[in-house]
Symmetry: C2
Subunit: 286 residues, 2 copies
């Protein structure tokens, strides 16, 4: 076993874009078994044929891999995540670490840690990786390379578990592992992820496709890159993080109105000040 490799029995629940990418990535870095659980039999069959899972199971047979798994990564929609945990409360291996991949944390984690008690340990995880397309067929281990990973431990998590999770995901390419509370996570992610997605769809929906096709440059292309998001998943994320998202939208609109009014008044000095502030913040962050 090479340095940095693991020997863990791992179950991945939901072999979509993120779950499928995890399977591909961990297949190379983890010497233990990797099992997949999915509602789609074809996906399970395909993943087994590609040898990125050892075996695939339906939701109804989840107990078979769960009982043997040291780590369970659940990568499914918010609504089904809670059901899955509730329905499998007695199927997790004693002491197993369970994590998720969702872009919202606070409510889920409270609920899950509560119903799990000491049957298993749940720790929230959010890989800041993705693609503008979804599904297993688009999964790729490369999406994690140099990406950020957010851990959202609570007082119920052990220090060893937090450390383990950081090392585990670093092994597949994540660069920065950062820890915040679930509350803070939801507040920041509303700004750094959900707001840019709302901007993308709002801009896209304003367009008259026929008219603008040949007038597009890099800025429009970039701003709308994520405009074709999975509406089931993101609809749920937006509603579940509504308090933070609405604050972000309102703050953003206030900022936009500021520069709008400078332009209306032809106030070149304030426009330039606004643009320079953006430029210097950009240098600082990215």
């Amino acid at each position: 076993m090479e340095d940095g490799d693991f020997n863990i029995n791992l179950t991945i629940v939901g072999l979509g874009l993120i779950g499928g990418s995890y399977a591909k990535a961990f297949k190379e870095k983890n010497k233990g078994h990797i099992w997949g659980i999915d509602i789609d039999k074809n996906t399970l069959k395909k993943a087994a044929e590609m040898d990125i899972i050892d075996d695939g199971y339906s939701i109804e047979n989840a107990q078979i891999p769960l009982k043997k798994s040291d780590v369970v990564i659940i990568s499914i929609y918010p609504e089904v995540l809670l059901n899955f945990v509730r329905n499998n409360l007695n199927n997790f291996k004693k002491g197993a670490i369970i994590t998720d991949t969702l872009g919202i944390k606070e409510d889920n984690i409270k609920y899950i840690q509560n119903i799990l008690g000491d049957k298993a340990e749940f720790i929230g995880g959010h890989p800041m990786a993705g693609k503008e397309v979804s599904g297993f067929l688009n999964a790729s281990k490369d999406i994690f390379e140099d990406a950020n990973y957010i851990l959202t431990p609570t007082a119920k998590n052990k220090k060893e578990t937090i450390d383990f999770m950081g090392e585990f995901v670093k092994s597949i390419g994540f660069k920065s592992i950062v820890e915040v509370t679930p509350e803070k996570h939801d507040e920041i992610i509303a700004f750094t992820s959900q707001l840019p997605h709302i901007i993308a769809v709002s801009l896209m929906n304003l367009s008259n496709c026929e008219d603008i096709k040949y007038f597009i440059g890099g800025s429009f292309r970039d701003t709308t890159r994520v405009a074709a998001i999975n509406s089931d998943l993101w609809g749920q994320l937006f509603i579940r993080n509504k308090k933070n998202i609405i604050k972000c939208i309102d703050d953003f609109q206030k900022n936009m109105t500021e520069i709008r009014n400078y332009i209306e008044k032809e106030d070149i000095n304030d426009i330039k000040k606004f643009l320079k502030e953006a430029a210097s913040k950009k240098e600082e962050i990215i």
Copy 2:
């Protein structure tokens, strides 16, 4: 001479990111002379050393290359563009084609065609290419590869001139050449270029850099890619296209408010409808 090559005496006024990139690109495709005019002596020296111009001239000596040039590409800020043409009215070669690279057209073109009379022919051109950085040192001939080019002819332009310009810029990599009136150009570009830039700076300015650094994924990075724009140039562009830009900002904010309100009401069906509309428009355009 290969098929598609030209043999034209060309002067490029302003060797910044766009002008410098033109010089590099045409040096390979045009067998005639290429001269550069710039206020920065170092840029002229560097461009001559790199052999992408045959000679460089200060603004004061503009008449030397202009008198011999079949084509003049003026790639400088809106305010100085008008001055440059006015100060060189009698320096253009009879029948020369003069074009620009600016993101606003209507007012400039009216003014320039008016004062030029039949001394030379001005035709507006807008290369939909750029980079998030400016200046000659960042110039590259690759930025035009597969990009869109917009021509904004008026009743004062000859058909041969329009055709020539299309062929001339195709030779350096542009893929789609599209023609619209200067008025329509300004209206569409406010939406496809200036609005995304305003979005980028407004989003960037909202951020508290320290807090968000490790919470950034692809969507935030993409939406703010162009946030460090040249404040002198873009400040002028925004003010000169103010009528169209303000309409775009207002329409965009109305759209954003629509999805904001669906989220507030937890109206999952309308959110999903909104997201699906964006996804299908995205498929259609990009």
